[in-house]
Amino acid sequence: MVGAEGDSGGTDTSEDDSTGEPVEDPTEDCAGVGAGLAPMRRLTKAQYDNTVRDLFDGVVEPGSTFPISIIHEGYANNPAANIVSLSAAEDILLAAEHAGQQVIDDIGSIVSCDPGATCAEGFIDDFGRRAFRRPLLPAERQALLDLYVQVESEDGFADGIGTVVTVVLQAPQFLYLFEEGGAEVEADVIELTDFELATRLSYLLWDTTPDEELLQLAEAGLLHEPEQLREQAQRLLADSARSGPALDRFFREWMHFDGVPAYEKDAALFPGYDDALAGAMDQELSRFIDGVLGSGEPTIERLLTSSVTQVDATMAGFYGVTPPASGWGEVTLPAEQRPGLLSRPALLAEHSTGTSSAPIFRGRLVRTQLLCDSIPPPPDDAMANAPEYPEGATEREKTEILMDHMNCGACHGLMNPIGLGFERFDPVGAWRELDVDGSPVDARGEVLSGDPQLAGEFDGVPQLGERLAGSDVVTACFANQFYRHSLGLEPSQALACAVDPIEEAFIASGGDIPSLLLELVGSNAFRLRVVTEEE
């Protein structure tokens, strides 16, 4: 419904069927060179906060009022989810005033020249270029200068500068990743300017505004060749203080993990699950992913199968292993219990209800996020017509009832049989040998698929992880998800001829995640943009 309100043009068709299935024939849009769609994106809250800190070298705190980002159809930078409402406009104003006030009060830390007209002009040129991520257009420069002159005449230099900042931080050139593009490379395809590419690169890999080196390369026209982009991407990735959190946000959004549990755990059933444990699980997830990316083999296969993680005292207690002497330390967990991303407690707890292990949620996660399949939404009367389950039934028994109930099996067959493979993990992600009825847990599952690499029965997450890790479908899906994340695209907007070459290269690389990032930033899907018909 957001899309319906947002009128995001003819490409936003997944709103109507909510299946995420590509619904258009994309080949006619990408004109053969592999350009993709790129709707305008608003900065996420994290990007705004980082950007304000970086624009003022940490002197100005962003405050807390910038609107939170809504995650819609996958990723927080989806434009349809972050349409400016009245309260958002007000919150953006308050956030900008908060920054402007700090600039006025601490003007000596913001500008180093002697207050006056020349100094103000220099500030507007420099700050404007960094905030808009390109040199100001003459009309933009003049408008800011006029504002400065007017305010300066009433309240002095600092107020003039602070007011300019307050406007710039609300201006669309700052708030939106707006890509006008440059030359047309062929019909309906334009290439992005070097400045626009610097911006894409920086917000993708750092979640913040381009640094001086990127801006200077853009100014010199040295940032549009694939090799130039890849070289800069390597530099950005090497700065793990900035690239780490940015990549971590991708993994969390991909795994539908936003840190706010969807279901509160039943404290009587799970007395040990408290805020401290949940917080430790959350940290462990990031440390596990960091460990894979930082290992000698940063592949999708290792992501899905590695038993190496980090624990603190809390997680060591949870896993039943020896805690590190202090802080966090690396451990290798039993491969038959805790292999890969899918056995991370934070994700297992997130994709459960407060009382049940929820094979539906766990199976849906695998189906939509790892296989990139779509699942139609439940019919409106699904809950009203839900079957009755006997008291104390296991999830396996409930699934058997559900699969035979009315038409439920048609869709639940895509989810529940995969989710049952997770049954050795309880609703807070702890290992269990016995089911809720006291019987030994049966964790056999099945992947329904037309793909022979994927299809078939399996027993437990270790076998499921191996199966997924060896699948080209999963490898391609990961590349597709990262591409969508990079441009805030809904599934239907990932044009096949833009993303296919990226998927193929990722498969050819053996699922090497850093190679994927480098492949993407040098690709035509990243460097070019399709001009849609109505433009």
């Binding site: 709707p39 409402s85 104003l93 005033e97 001009v531």
Partner: protein
Amino acid sequence: MRRRQQLSRRNFLRGAGGIAVALPFLESIGPARAGGTTAPLRYLQFMHVQGTLMNEWAPSGPAAAMVLSEILSPLEPVRDHIVPISGCDNPSASDYGVNGHVNSGRTVFTCAPNSGNNDLADGPSIDQVIADRLAAPTPYKSLQFGVGGSGIGEYQALMAGPQDPVPLDGDPRQIFDQLFADLEGDPAAQPTALQRLRARRGSVLDGVLDELGRTMARASSADRQTLERHADKIRELEIQLGNEGEAGIGCGVPTIDLPPGYEPNDQGQDDVSSRAFIDLMVMAMACDMTRVGTLQYTNYHGPDYPWLGVGVPGAYPEWHSMVHDLPNMSDLSVPRAVYRWYMEEYAYLLQQLADTPDGDGSLLDHMLVMSISELGDGAAHGTWSLPIVLAGRVGGQLATGRHVDLGGARTGELFVTFLQLFGADDTVFGNPAYCNGPVSV
């Protein structure tokens, strides 16, 4: 009632110092409406958490001679102003799949579940719809305070529309600065940087509109629509910020007493901050800064209510798990004290509203106030028979001082009645599957 500084027109003009132009809405506070004229209608909702002890909550005796239960007993001094409501359910919560906190919190004011289990509600909350229908010329469309901090997570209860959450303000000092700081202090003092910036909001937003126009001229049609909508909202914001409101004779600057070590998110001090938030809200209404408000107690999980001197029994890790175990507890004195405390705060709010003159009566006389919780019986975590206490006569439209049993009506239907009390002609609210039109209260 707390001491507060009464404001004359002179106070206002002096208090505003050299920045009268900054806050145009204040200029009209001076020539306040004289007593005896009618006052605008207002709406305020008060949400406490974890339901109640539903078995013992309801008043007993004849409707018009109701005997308040122990939990409701703090409302005795304002009993003539209230209407406790029994038998009003929120079945829309169950549409989310299970009846947990996400479901109850996100539907309690919206009645609009989202079929995606983890998504925000599918429609606006009742406070925002009332504000839309009133379209009042106030500087704020609505104000919403989070007692215990602004973090709500599962309990994103207020929505301006689908996927458009309304955040809570959780810091009383920041709210004071936003609403009242310009009105007090040394009249001779220089305005602060923030006050000066706010004085220039008109030029700042005009500057933003110019940039939007410049960018639009270069945008594709889809992007242009996004930018046009953004520009529309800036124009609405300019109008809203330029609104003057019609301050009543009770308008003044509240005195916010917070201890020096107070931290906004420290829920161990909710007893202190609760009164501050209430005082701020009452004066925001009296000064006509808004006509719609929400007070939401945000910590449903781990507060231990140290000011009550009872403490959560050691067998439970936190308050929430104790609530789940209520059926197994023989001594209910602790939960009873906690649920009663929320009603003490509600009673304080109502008393303040009743003591603040407005038009030909009090603020409360011209208001509809609702206390509600996301759950009915806390132990069951169910959304049946929510503990609702209405208050205020809504300008003579609501007969108060009696108990009403709605016998299984639904919240969507009650909220249609609210809308009609505010002069709207709505016949449905939220998901129509849970709403058959207004109920009679």
